[in-house]
Subunit: 594 residues, 2 copies
């Protein structure tokens, strides 16, 4: 077994930190009891451990390949995806009306984590399909929903997001793909899209491309972008697939990692025009695309957590097995397994603490999203939505940045063997490297955190979160004991650092934007570690209360919280200095001085 | 041009921080004037930029390959290595008596940096040969020196270090290769060695393997290891090469990076025994090997700096060219090159500051090594040697750890293009990953720093360095001005953090070794950033004094120092907490609890 789902930790976070019980009391989620959640997680674990995880290394060795416009995926992927669809896994989150299970995002998030830990490359296909489903649910017409949603949710068809063009990466204002109305309600789409994940493959009967393009009279910039459905095969009125559409995969990329996931260059309209239909209203494409992106950004954050978990499990397994050197404390005269050496423990604890902390932040955010959608009280919905939206760039940015460090440590634990590809540790290090880039780089997330999430409300949501953190500090103080007061002290310092940064950002964003945006990524990282430290504070209180149930598990949680505080949360003041005092030297050099 | 040697920064560091003038006044180095240094660096730059650097990408695409025991290197490597030898570049550091140039380590270090920046994989062959030369200079017999040194120094032959075996990686006590005396002064060597860099290749007429092995009556553990010369081809009395020796390359590794550098599995004695001769005395092999390793460890530290420089130059070039998005300060209505965006500047400044800081620390250490060898005053020699030895694990550990971060940022600056192998940014990220592993992992360096370098003298050298840092703080204070006092403040905090850690390590190493060694890597990183910050403090004072000579260069140096202090040196207190308060939770979990 190369992967074992960490169900115990997942359920601990869901129950003790994210409030699964409360989520299951929301209207519409009555069936999502803790018992149901556990059953769903058990099934997901079985499928992902047994079917999906074993294909991860195969995907690296025998990636997707392109020939004459046809992409062939890694042997085994097609069959696994069939099982994925039939098992209902694409539909966990989506409405029962269209064939989904209608479960809370909290439960879906745990399922997604497992799928991604099992196989990052494989999981990308459902991840993008989820985004397409979300966009159609929000902005699609009834006919579009009826035509596309059941097939997407069943896994018979898959979805893509077509944003990027050679000259338009982070900056969608530069999109040039054009859509010409044909007078019959359809459009002809012309243009080139790059970096299209699963833009072409052999795992489904049809591929539903959601494409950003401009109509002839559209205004310039992001206000002139519309969203179109351009399916690979046109769909007949009875729902069956018809003629091949004029969208073709001209090549796929040769990448550092996630090699099994085909990254396509798509050519629209080279043979007369690709037929598309408008989603929602003209020129509102960016808004709809953000629906997909917000869903995808959260999911990519989960990918960071997922690959970190995989690297951690592999490193632990190796450290338990590899015998090398006697213990530094002289407790044995023979060489021992390296898991007994303090620096190996430090590395494993770092991997573990970063991963568990990010998981807790993400699951708590997922529960807030559920409340934002389903809570009967509008004030609670609004508050929950604001909390969730604040967390999205943090979950995306922080969980993916840390995945670089965690997978790098995974290699390091293996020593020289980590550098040999056969070992598999290096694959995680390569795979993870895309995560802080796609669906918006860390800088894009950080700009969102500064602009839309902090400055726009004058720091109100950020301050409200800090007030919640202070409550956890107080609870840790009331509890007492060495580990608890140590975490309290680091959390208080971390929260104070965050407050200082929020005030700096709010005060200077207008007057000195260069200085503020120079600190946007350190601000995002500070949020990541303080929010993780906060959840660890809550976790150790909950673990202490439940200690007797399972002492080894709960004591490990307390020790991991303590480790996180001293080794990671302790970095908060350095990040504060980087933001508050470090803006000027970032901007001091001219382009020529570099 | 894919690489341009940063001669201006190298000379600034050599002249202003490392005291090249003083080095050139040491007995034996009279010819090594600043003018000579500049001429040597200019020649080195020309050769490495024009001949070696263009082969870097080729080595990744068309790595060394193995067939029937024969290793063929990347096309172009053999010819470049011939030019390297003929140009005298293998001998920069080595005695004129054996054909070298006898220049100071300070100058050789700058040359080595260029070679490694040009091509990490190519540079490994000379790097290992340097180690073999050092070991023979120290422990070889006159006959061995006469036979092997001129050929190694001329580049006609190359050298290897054979330490690792499948069961003996970091722990050389577990070495099992055996050497049986034949009664004629030679030995027959039997065993398997793995991870042997350039253990087999086609770039030289002969390969001089230096091999750790045990004689029949040797004691167990590291006190029973001897060092042998086992050449690929036996050497006749007239110095010509004779019969093929019984050492064979049975495979090379399939690696994450540095793919052009063949990593060999060598089988000794499968066909009757490989003929070897003893170096120095029996059972003192580890001691001699440490000579090679100390040379190699410093050089691998330089590799970290070198690949960081390469990644930085590539990222700057891309950021100057790629147009995307309007500036956040509204200073332009059109999209600009991304080097104008604050977060791109922050990433480039981080890459630049880490690289320049590590370069300064390494060059200052190299100058101390020169004084340790050549200074007429024994007290100065001893003091310089102690300083150099303290710096070796820091140069090795810190410069290689930061190379992971710098090359990762290099990918990030490229956005999605960074993940595409054709761009070349990903190669540096893959190549760098071995650096914190080979020639002693970061943990091994950190244990050396704690044990031999700090605890053994009760922290005396560490405290003496802190006292020197305090002098720089005072000079910054006397100078005054915003950037200088900001750096002074961060440096004072960093130095205080380091003092606290040194006292903790000295006080607890015996009584609580697990807690101290749990913090050994954070201690090493703290040394790396505080020493870099110290050199930046000295650098900004020197740059200010020279400002008028070249304002753009010297003002960039001052800004980079300021950046380093606020963004990187500011992490010192977090690292202090990790060491001083973080030991207990590292060791809290049992092997089963992970």
């Amino acid at each position: 077994m190369t992967y074992r789902a960490p169900i115990k930790d997942m359920l601990f976070v869901m129950n003790e930190l994210a409030g699964l019980e409360a989520v299951s009391q929301l209207p519409g989620f009555e069936e999502a009891t803790p018992e149901t959640a556990e059953a769903v997680l058990d099934e997901a674990a079985k499928f992902n451990e047994q079917v999906v995880a074993p294909l991860n290394r195969a995907g690296d060795l025998d990636p997707s390949s392109w020939k004459d416009g046809v992409v062939t995926t890694t042997p085994g992927f097609k069959e696994a995806f069939r099982q994925f669809g039939e098992g209902g896994w694409q539909g966990v989150l989506h409405p029962q009306e269209f064939g989904g299970q209608g479960l809370p995002k909290l439960i879906a998030t745990a399922c997604n984590e497992m799928l991604n830990t099992a196989n990052l490359s494989f999981a990308l296909c459902p991840l993008l399909t989820d985004g397409a489903i979300e966009a159609l649910l929000t902005a699609g017409s009834d006919a579009q929903k009826a035509t596309f949603l059941p097939k997407l949710i069943s896994g018979e068809w898959t979805g893509t997001m077509n944003l990027t063009e050679p000259q338009a990466g982070s900056d969608l204002a530069a999109v040039r793909t054009r859509a010409e109305p044909q007078g019959d309600g359809t459009y002809k789409v012309f243009g080139t899209k790059i970096f299209i994940t699963y833009g072409e493959h052999d795992m489904a009967q049809n591929i539903v491309h959601l494409v950003l393009a401009r109509t002839p009279d559209a205004p310039e910039g992001v206000k002139g972008i519309s969203l179109f459905i351009v399916p690979k095969f046109l769909v007949n009125d009875d729902g069956s697939t018809g003629a091949r559409n004029d969208v073709h995969c001209v090549s796929i990329e040769h990448k550092l990692g996630i090699k099994a996931s085909p990254t396509a260059v798509l050519q629209f309209g080279d043979h007369g025009g690709a037929i598309g239909t408008l989603v929602g209203e003209e020129n509102r494409g960016l808004e709809y695309m953000f629906i997909m992106m917000n869903s995808a950004r959260f999911s990519v954050g989960m990918q960071g957590i997922a690959v970190s978990e995989r690297a951690y499990q592999q490193a632990v397994a190796y450290a338990r097995e590899r015998v090398q050197s006697r213990p530094v404390d002289g407790s044995a005269r023979e060489a021992v397994t390296i898991i007994h050496h303090p620096d190996v423990k430090r590395m494993l604890m770092t991997m573990r603490a970063l991963t568990e902390g990010a998981r807790a932040v993400a699951y708590v955010a997922a529960a807030a999203s559920d409340a934002a959608h389903q809570h009967p009280d509008e004030a609670v919905r609004r508050q929950s939505q604001a909390f969730y939206e604040f967390m999205v760039p943090v979950v995306k940015g922080w969980s993916t940045e840390l995945s670089i460090d965690v997978t790098s440590l995974g290699v390091q634990v293996h020593g020289g063997m980590g550098f040999i590809e056969e070992t598999g540790a290096a694959q995680h290090y390569r795979d993870a490297r895309i995560l802080p880039i796609y669906e918006g780089t860390t800088a894009i997330q950080a700009n969102d955190l500064v602009g839309r999430k902090t400055v726009r409300d004058g720091g109100a949501v950020a301050r409200a979160i800090c007030a919640q953190i202070a409550e956890t500090e107080a609870a840790l103080g009331r509890h007492g004991g060495a580990a608890f007061t140590a975490v309290q002290a680091q959390l208080a310092r971390g929260r104070a650092a965050l407050e200082a940064v929020v005030e700096f950002v709010v005060a200077n964003a207008k007057s000195d934007p260069n200085a503020v945006f120079a600190g946007s990524v350190p601000y995002l990282k500070l949020c990541g570690i303080v929010f993780s430290g906060w959840q660890f504070g809550r976790a150790m209180l909950a673990a202490d209360a439940k200690r007797a149930d399972d002492p080894a598990f709960h004591e490990a949680k307390i020790a991991t919280a303590h480790f996180f505080a001293e080794h990671i949360l302790s970095q908060a003041s350095g990040l504060r200095d980087a933001v508050v005092s470090g803006g000027a030297p970032v901007n001091a050099l001219s382009a020529e001085q570099f």
